[in-house]
Amino acid sequence: MGRKRGGPRRERPVKPKPCVFCKEDINYVDYKDYNTLRRFTSERGKIRARRVTGLCPQHQREAAVAIKRAREMALLAYVAG
């Protein structure tokens, strides 16, 4: 049997990772809440990918729009660092 190095391939344990907005039952991602939004941007000010933020598709979209609005109102920087 051609077993690969590192032993038998195990299935990854399924880790349920609820989206933070779903968890707190927030239905509107507010662009004015820039401190929360900052958590979803990199140090450079770029919007983080869904796989990094762990947001559900709906909230990732809403957060992206909110970040863009916050940028327009100079609450978040377009480019930082």
Partner: protein
């Protein structure tokens, strides 16, 4: 939400916001109390200004007046930047320091 130029003092900012409130009220809209965030540093310079007065206000307004209000905001020299956002029907105030909740908040300017 709107950003007023930092050269004005607090009273002048209040007057500026009051002017927009009157416009909304006079044309049949419903303007809530403005919520001033005070003078804040901008995340980046706008017109060579590093800070500005932030004011958030909730109001409901008709479609025609909205166009007019947008025009006034755009030509106003005291307003550095503005944003009018349609609020979802179930909008509730969260952790932010904001004013009282209207019956039917349609838009927020600030």
């Amino acid at each position: 939400m709107l950003i007023v130029i930092p050269e004005l003092d607090a009273e002048q900012v209040e007057n500026t916001v009051e002017r927009f409130r009157t416009v909304i009220d006079r044309t049949g809209g419903e303007a809530g109390d403005p919520n001033p965030w005070g003078k804040r540093k901008l995340a980046y310079e706008i017109d060579h200004r590093a800070d500005g007065f932030y004011v958030v206000m909730e109001f409901s307004i008709g479609e025609r007046t909205l166009t007019e209000l947008k025009r006034i905001l755009r030509v106003s020299d005291d307003v550095l930047r503005h944003m009018i956002v349609k609020l979802p029907p179930n909008y509730a105030h969260q952790t932010l320091p904001e004013g009282a909740l209207d019956d039917e908040p349609v838009e927020v300017a600030g």
